[in-house]
């Protein structure tokens, strides 16, 4: 019912406005169209200035209201983005102010007036050269700064980077670490089995597909819960997609890169704050670094969320030792630590050594 009521109200408003508008047309005929036209011109000229003033107040107010909601940059590269952003805002802000003040001021000041004759001013080469050259110079500055950052961001990641592979699928993310040997095992999309081998790692020989098992794939660690990275240590993401194009969007780190099926891409950054530190800074206990898919990938696009846990090196080491190679979850019988015959003490012992090896290998760059 309420919808009909709303429609009725809207229609009524239309009718009222329309009647007033028609009436004003008749009034203007009675008053003399020229006089009415002049009056309308004055009102519109005045509104130009009103719009300018209220608009600028609005811009200020909107900024006060919203600036707190833009998240803090949480990566060293993000700081560079922010610097560039502030410079660009400053430059474009000045241009915005000047041009808008001129636009509305001229509109107001030079509104039609019987005493004024428009000034015949068809062109002026000096002026035109001025506003060709000045923007060109300012833009060159922005281009130089931008390209310098662009080549840093898209250049090779530092050698000591932690390397994590991230693969998009409808609708979630799969993270892979290279494991002990620090080498990602080979994979092939025809081996994918969503239950046991979500990335299609080449674990077995297959003559039909001309594959031989890649030993490097046996210790790869795969999970879909969260990506763990280390504060202060650059991280390089190797980005893949299993089905359609996705995009690894990292608003806090100011980074983003498409995940394209068949074409691996990369991005790297250096996280500045751990998740815990960010929870304190933002005073939000639920804070998480979220990975947002930024390329439309189907009906679940909006729910394609990933979590990045930024932790200290110590915490990372502790986490790393608890990670089991993906191969063992597919073939539990091959997992040495899962053998029930072994005595409790020695299990701990084995787990301990494997774990510390894993940590070393990962830390070894």
């Amino acid at each position: 019912m309420s919808i009909f009521f709303t429609i009725a109200v809207v229609l009524l408003v239309f009718v009222v406005i329309f009647q007033i508008a028609k009436a004003s047309e008749y009034v203007s005929i009675l008053k003399g169209e020229e006089k009415a036209g002049k009056q309308a011109n004055k009102i519109n000229g005045f509104l130009m200035i009103v719009f300018l003033v209220l608009g600028l107040i609005g811009v200020y107010y909107c900024n006060e209201l919203m600036k707190g909601r833009i998240p803090l940059s949480s990566s060293l590269e993000g700081d560079k983005v922010d610097q560039m952003l502030y410079l660009t805002i400053a430059i474009t802000g000045v241009v915005f102010l000047i041009t808008h003040i001129l636009l509305f001021w001229f509109a107001y000041k030079y509104q039609e007036n019987d005493d004024r004759k428009a000034y015949f001013f068809p062109h002026n080469n000096k002026l035109e050269v001025l506003w060709t050259v000045v923007p060109a110079i300012v833009l060159s500055i922005l281009v130089v700064i931008g390209l310098r950052n662009w080549f840093i961001f898209t250049g090779d990641a530092p050698k000591e980077s932690l390397v994590v592979e991230i693969t998009g699928k409808q609708f979630g993310w799969i993270y892979r670490y290279p494991g002990k040997d620090n080498t990602f095992g080979k994979k092939y999309f025809r081996n994918i089995d969503p239950a046991t081998n979500s990335l299609g790692l080449i674990w077995a020989d297959n003559k039909e597909m001309n594959q031989t098992a890649d030993p490097a794939s046996f210790d790869d660690i795969v999970n879909e819960q969260a990506m763990y990275i280390v504060k202060g240590r650059p991280v390089k993401l190797v980005i893949n997609s299993r089905d359609v194009i996705h995009d690894v969007g990292l608003p806090h780190f100011r980074m983003k890169m498409d995940a394209v099926p068949g074409i691996p891409t990369t991005l790297w950054f250096t996280p500045k704050y751990t998740t815990k530190e960010m929870q304190e800074i933002t005073q939000n206990g639920n804070f998480e670094y979220e990975i947002a898919c930024d390329q439309i990938c189907g009906n679940g696009h909006y729910s394609m969320k990933g979590i990045i846990k930024v932790v200290t090196q110590q915490e990372y080491d502790v986490w790393a030792v608890t990670q089991k190679p993906y191969y063992f979850s597919a073939f539990p019988d091959k997992d040495p630590s899962a053998k029930p015959i072994a005595p409790v003490d020695s299990t701990k012992q084995t787990a301990g050594t494997t774990a510390s090896d894993a940590v070393k290998s990962i830390a070894r760059k």
Partner: protein, 607 residues
């Protein structure tokens, strides 16, 4: 002599149109039925009106779609029983489904970009203004012109029909990136809906090519005596470059679509490789590149935004000069900057692909070329400002929208400097920042150009005036509303809020914008209502508006105002007037305006 013979004579004698004995030209000797006059018309003015009205219908549909999905963004948890009444299974329980949301977003984008701002804008004004402003009786090929409209109409019918197929219309975004758009198994919208989308777009490309070739041929060959290229009004220059852009870039888009059709239906792998679809398994395709499509798409996609904005720029230049009673400042610079924009339009497409894994070195050239576009854009803005300076401005509704256009073009153009700089684009790409940017600079500015044109040439089209009070209301509500809608979106984008999300409430990073989204949606609905008000004004005034009584109500220099108040087929009664000067002699030597048909006096100062 009949119109057809007339046109024959005209084309055979070349651009000089001096055919004797046609004093009775304005009268119709040949029989015109309702069908030939209003439906399959070959008269450019009628075709222009057909484009305009069809564009308006699509604008309302597209706008309504945005109202529906803005409702979802504002109130993701609320239910609206009437939505189920309207949309059926797409809004079960009165709650818009994700599928429907994405279909609406996609169709909104496609329809607004192609049907409204391309066909509705340049289709209307190229058809209406080119013959009238260059002094021709009709287009070079009225028949192709008619076909152009009917291909557009058919494209619209096919697009409309896609809304009613069982699996829903296409829902993968207006850019239709494969593999999503290629695989029905990845998204229901990519099934029949996508086939219809592709057919519709292919028909649309045909329509724009037929139209574009016709516009170019007409402008180059059919100008009246004395109308040299440098005496053309800027509207014609803008429409000329627009047509060239379309003719050169639409075929590339079509080729991209054809490859997509092959991938979808005939098992090729142009765009597909290494794909495992949930629930289906690994696909046989290998060796294709999903990025190839993006190159083909944006090779049109980028010029497309200039196809939208150039006609608006032309209209604004003309309307602004007329109503400031002052020549457009820097006429040659205006043409030069249009030309520069048209050339650069072809050299910047990859700035849409900075985060696609593009070679960074290649990307750097696109940064440079993209930011270079800001130079001709700046020239245009400063020239418009100088045109207003020391003018004697009449705030007709057309003039108001022209001023609004300049404001929008500045605001949206400046944010382009952020996005064109690749290092910043990494951060802002595919967030609400880009949504705000292109809606302001292309959507709102394009619409403002269109409104300026409609308000300015309505008296010529229908021989009546629109109601001014409604027009003023329309302008101020739309202008204020557009800023209220899109300004806050920049902040959402700076927070990394991604576009094309159905619901943000589960995101710790974005849910603090819930209140802002409600505000934006409410303003969007008010602005939409104001557009309905404009339509009421439009259709009411077509039939009942105040009648135009003078031939040249705006005191304008251009040729269309030398025709009868309601020009018949052939436009001028008697000879087509000869042109002696450029279109912008306003306020010269103390005269308010000097029509292009007035011979240059001996005493006249030169500029």
């Amino acid at each position: 002599m009949s119109n057809e013979e007339m046109l024959q004579a005209q084309t055979s004698t070349g651009q000089v149109v001096e055919v004797p004995h046609h004093d009775h030209h304005g009268e119709h000797h040949h029989h015109e039925t309702f069908i030939t006059k209003y439906v399959f018309s070959q008269d450019h003015k009628m075709i222009a009106k057909q484009f305009l009205v069809t564009g308006m219908i699509w604008a309302i549909l597209g706008g309504l779609m945005s109202v529906l999905f803005r409702l979802q963004l504002a109130y993701p948890d609320a239910t609206f029983p009437w939505l189920e009444t309207l949309l059926g299974k797409w809004a079960k329980g009165g709650h818009l489904s994700a599928e429907a949301y994405y279909a609406l977003v996609t169709t909104h984008g496609t329809v607004l970009v192609f049907f409204v701002l391309t066909a509705g804008l340049s289709g209307t004004f190229a058809n209406f203004l080119i013959p009238l402003q260059i002094g021709a009786r009709d287009m070079a090929s009225p028949f192709l012109n008619m076909l152009s409209y009917w291909f557009f109409f058919t494209a619209g019918v096919v697009m409309l029909s896609s809304l009613f197929v069982e699996t829903g219309p296409f829902s993968g975004g207006w850019t239709a990136y494969p593999p999503l758009s290629a695989l029905g198994s990845a998204s229901p919208g990519s099934k029949t809906g996508m086939d219809l989308w592709l057919i519709s777009m292919a028909l649309f490309v045909v329509s724009s090519l037929l139209g574009g070739l016709n516009y170019i041929a007409t402008i180059l060959n059919m100008r009246t005596k004395g109308m040299s290229m440098t005496r053309l009004p800027l509207t014609i220059w803008a429409l000329f470059f627009t047509a060239i852009l379309g003719v050169l870039s639409f075929p590339v888009l079509l080729s991209g679509f054809i490859l997509l059709i092959f991938d979808r239906n005939f098992g090729t792998s142009f765009y597909l490789s290494d794909i495992y679809v949930n629930g289906v398994g690994a696909l046989p395709n290998e060796g294709g590149s999903a990025i190839l499509y993006q190159h083909l798409f944006w090779f049109l996609g980028h010029p497309e935004v200039y196809i939208i904005i150039l006609p608006a720029m032309g209209i604004v230049s003309e309307v602004m000069s007329t109503n400031a009673r002052k020549p457009i400042f820097g006429y040659m610079a205006m043409i030069g900057s249009l030309f520069a924009i048209a050339v650069l339009a072809f050299l910047v497409w990859a700035h849409h692909m900075f985060v696609s894994g593009l070679n960074p070195f290649l990307g750097s050239f696109f940064v440079l070329l993209t930011l270079l576009i800001a130079v001709p854009s700046a020239i245009k803005v400063f020239n418009w400002l100088t045109t207003l300076w020391r003018g004697n401005i009449r705030f007709t509704p057309g003039m108001l929208f022209s001023i609004g256009f300049v404001s929008m073009f500045i605001s949206g153009g400046l944010t382009g400097i952020f996005l064109g700089n690749s290092a910043l684009d990494i951060y802002l790409h595919d967030t609400y920042f880009i949504v705000a940017h292109f809606h302001i600079v292309m959507g709102v500015a394009g619409m403002f150009g269109m409104y300026a044109g409609i308000y300015h040439w309505f008296p010529k089209m229908f021989g009546r005036y629109l109601n001014n009070t409604l027009a003023y209301l329309h302008f101020w509500i739309t202008f204020t509303g557009a800023y209220l809608i899109f300004w806050p979106m920049h902040y959402e984008g700076l927070a990394g809020m991604p576009r094309r999300y159905y619901d943000f409430s589960n995101w710790e990073s974005f849910k603090m914008f819930g209140g802002v989204n409600i505000f934006i949606s409410v303003v969007a609905m008010i602005v939409f209502a104001a557009q309905i008000m404009f339509l009421i004004n439009f259709f009411y005034s077509v039939f009942k508006g105040k009648k135009v009584t003078s031939q040249n109500p705006w005191g304008s220099n251009t040729l269309e105002w030398t025709t009868p108040i309601l020009p018949g087929h052939g436009n001028w009664v008697g000879e087509i007037p000869e042109v002696h000067r450029w279109a912008y002699d306003y306020g010269k030597d103390g005269k308010d305006f000097i029509s292009q048909t007035t011979p240059v006096g001996a005493e006249e100062s030169s500029h």
